[in-house]
Subunit: 342 residues, 4 copies
């Protein structure tokens, strides 16, 4: 059986990545593509790398006839997303890739995003989209909120460790190196090639990065007590990839065992042998996440490094994985592409 | 029906690219992988991006039991390739990715490669592997010689124009900008990141690049008279991609029409509307080739620009496309992956 | 004696490059810096790499007291530049880095830039700023027009060859690979790191690039007959550098001899031994231009490749070299920095 | 007065950087350049970016006549360096850029480098070359040991904080992102452009990086008790630069005050206003180090980020700064070049 889907926000990078992935999906068909600022154009005009595909032209989302459409991906900027989603027909399953439905508590949302939520009832309904940990809820959900890409990477490291009780919850430092596509296709000076290539810098210092809201929510719920990690992202000159280096207090063997056990059956998460470290080069363009654990020289200290592709496993790949669950399809359908190296 | 194949030379970039592509192929199964310098290792140890795949460990090619194997890809360095292939069992279909069987004339081979050919009888038998132009011969061949990646790009531009008689054969200039993976995984100073990034340079100046041998052979045969193009490659700091800019004497409309006609039915070659130009960004990681034609300001002058991924359409993708023909499978099987952008 | 100068348009890349160079100049002092959109900010806020320098804060150009200032660099966008320069006091020597005064003929200007010139009398007065060929006129000029960076590169190759009569004037093809800083600090989608890195593309196809106006003007005047070259630039993922590959009909030895003779006494232009080719890596951050000549395999065909740093020798370095002449200083003052490699 | 110097190991990146810097030095003259593997070649043949300089050809170090030479830079690989230096004439002042004389304790040396020191008496004599903290000893030294580039960066952050007693000495995490030139011009697979560009990875995990030996030695001496930091470097795709992010327990204001006080008079070290963060883009090609301090959200937590150019301030710039002291010249001579951005 083929499922008809729509993508709203198809002219951004996560929209393009969804199209790329769905192009190889055996049972999902794209019935409509919306991008209000580029309505009327073909996909090939906006994304020439997709020109070989037989796709509907871009329209405004208001023009879409949703009657035959089963599921809709929303790849809109946050705040716009909640406004649009609250107007979509009730029969639609929705996978949102924005930040709008990640936080469950309206006060948390207000605190991290600076405005009141326009659809608080939907906020309550939304299921957090970290597939490996919310699989059953996602399968039955109408609205799934995609996680932040940094938030996903950090949680792949930390959730099993918090659950297993093998680390000191008050001493967690998460250091990230992020590729530039995570910032989207927006015209900002610091995203220009001339500014960003040939160097690196930290950003979101001082505990201001919004993905901290997700970490706080998820880790505190999991631990049954407040867990507030230290988290700093860096921007480095490559397009795809997040490398998270997590400094922990805990025994490397126990940490490695907890991660290995948690992901033993997972198709996309690979725990490397103890002492090996992953690289973003080796997950580029794919839905895989590689995780490595190393002991440090100090007693009771270890590091966990995780690598994933922010556009794929960190965003659009996760969205498709969730859509597969919501549509009753094989969870891995369309997602087994090998990474593209070199 | 599933076909068993082997890959000899599996530890180089074209070997890895073959594995990546075959991983999504519906009816080809990798039965053996050889890499003599890394025999005994797993594929995941040599190419961590392929670690999720269930693959045989690397062996020496001499260790392979070819009895159940139908087709063998040889991704060896030139000169080594002819020595190995001449020792392979006669029942094997062979797709060679090296330069060893591209030239039909032993004297040409000697001239461009500097040594006598070790398997001149095989040289005669080999079919030139430019799929779109040797489709029937390839389908019936036992040994197919993969083309040079630059040679493929240039021919995609020029063959239809020579055949259609719409350009001046004595005034052809082919200027290329090449990504670094075309040079393979070899340890050379000029391939280091510190030397190659953040700038560009020409190489193979003065008509010394070996792909000229292929151009001369193919274009002269096609034209029925000597055709000797001017051809200069440049190395620029990206991993995958060749952009060929061809300066011609001919009318842009006629040139565009000839290319459009030639490739109207081709699944992988897209001729853009007149006046548009392609980019390597939009074919990265895929088997597509985009071609654009622009008139110049001078009467009777035009430019054709072509973009492809040297590792895929320029090498391993071509090899798989040829293998599909040789095995009686759908020509596009395993090759419809969309490009990976950004 | 110390000369006081001002820079208008100090918040762009060429403005920053001027400051970088003047910082090591023995007898030029920056008295005022204007950047109307960032007036009130310190240079360090806009360009943190210049924060160690003791510089005046940015002001609007209207706020500058020009009474003690001898020379003014204008690094404004074209069209704005002519409007501002026409309002500057008459005692000021001016080095303009924009395109506004490069073309001498108002009709040419209108044709290539699409608008009437706002200061046609100044257009007549301006001296074309290609230092090596207009040295005497520049030394006595009040207003010098900086050349286009591509235009400078092409002329360094072609002027001596046209003058020496060693090439066919109707068969000149100039192919360029350009770094991204030439496009300035403007917020355009195609200049984003995610769009531009990891690939290459041609632009300005079909004889539409404005630097053609400069080539036509200069080469035709030099030859005493119309000379209309074919010229195509490509954008590649590095920040600084232009590599020009020029396909010619002429004997390599004669071409090499003409270039060697023309530049024998030039401090910044190095002609490599016949057969060697330059690289942008080796001029990055400097005022040098390297030129190499190679014979091709066809009789009477050769290639000349030139490399320079578009921001330095192609723009701000040239501007300072001209200012030195206009101020009666040593031409090389502040400009002998060695390239920064790797 | 002009000082004659020699450089041994002139064909590597730190050798080239020394030549680049000395080219603008008012009172140092290069009398001899040695590179045993490339003896007989010109500098321009090995480093074309230095071809405009009037320099002696490369010789073997044994060929150098040291009689008129005052100071010698040794930019050799570690272990080779100690062997060569122990054979140099006694009148020579020596600045070593290798790791050979950084550790004072022969047992420490043996532990981190795996072999016995070949010149233990010189090891005792050598002064540790972190200019800002060993200025007086360096001025009077005969042999100065250049620091590791990572070690310099970390110490610029941590020494003033340890001295001021404003941080918890048992809770120091130093996370680094390093450009590739730090690995030198060596032919290793992981340094190829195709392997290293377009992604990132950690290395030296588990407390194995040799610069830990320097950190332990220096910090423990300073604190009067063992201090063993946690330290992990990452390799990212740019050529020059180290960005160190240090996670601390201490009050941001006190940390900022301690750094500001320590570096108030330093010409090369800039402490940014509290809350601002540096970038390697803004120190590229220069001898400057930028340091920023940010409070974190947790009470008593802060971060310090430092950026410098590994080849310049982290190695050859430091070496020249030390040589200036040893020769009685202005410490900043030849070192005030502004960074090269973009």
């Amino acid at each position: 059986m083929t499922h008809s889907v729509a993508i709203i926000g198809a002219s951004g990078y996560t929209g393009a990545e969804l199209i790329r992935l769905i192009a190889t999906h055996p049972s999902i068909e794209i019935a409509a593509l919306a991008a209000n600022s580029k309505a009327g154009q073909s996909v090939g005009a906006v994304f020439p790398h997709l020109r070989h595909l037989d796709l509907p032209d871009l329209v405004t989302w208001e023009e879409i006839d949703f009657s035959g459409i089963e599921l809709c991906f929303c790849a809109l900027p946050h705040k716009t997303s909640q406004e649009v989603i609250s107007q979509l027909p009730g029969h639609l399953k929705i996978v949102d890739l924005s930040a709008d439905f990640r936080l469950r508590d309206p006060a948390d949302y207000q605190r991290w995003y600076g405005n009141d939520h326009a659809a608080p009832e939907l906020q309550k309904e939304a299921v957090y989209g970290l597939t490996e940990f919310y699989r059953d809820e996602i399968a039955g959900a109408r609205l799934v909120a995609g996680t932040g890409c940094n938030a996903a990477t950090g949680q792949f490291i930390l959730r099993p460790l918090i659950e297993a009780g093998v680390i000191d919850l008050d001493e967690i430092i998460l250091d990230l190196i992020c590729g530039v596509s995570g910032a989207g296709r927006s015209l900002k000076e610091n995203l220009l090639h001339a500014e960003l290539s040939e160097g690196t810098n930290a950003y979101g210092l001082g505990g201001t990065h919004r993905h901290l809201g997700e970490f706080d929510q998820e880790f505190s719920a999991l631990a049954g007590r407040p867990v507030n990690i230290r988290f700093t992202p860096h921007l480095a000159p490559f397009n795809r990839g997040i490398l998270a280096t997590c400094y922990l207090k805990g025994e490397a063997e126990a940490v490695h065992a907890a991660l290995s056990a948690a992901y033993a059956e997972e198709p996309f998460i690979e725990v490397l042998p103890l002492g090996q470290a992953p690289s973003t080069h080796h997950v580029r363009g794919s839905n895989f996440c590689h995780i490595g654990v190393s002991a440090e020289r100090g007693a009771g200290q270890c590091q966990v490094v995780a690598a994933l592709d922010n556009l794929c496993k960190g965003s659009s790949g996760q969205a498709l994985q969730n859509a597969n669950l919501m549509l009753g399809e094989e969870e891995t359908a369309g997602l087994m592409l090998a990474p593209c190296f070199p």
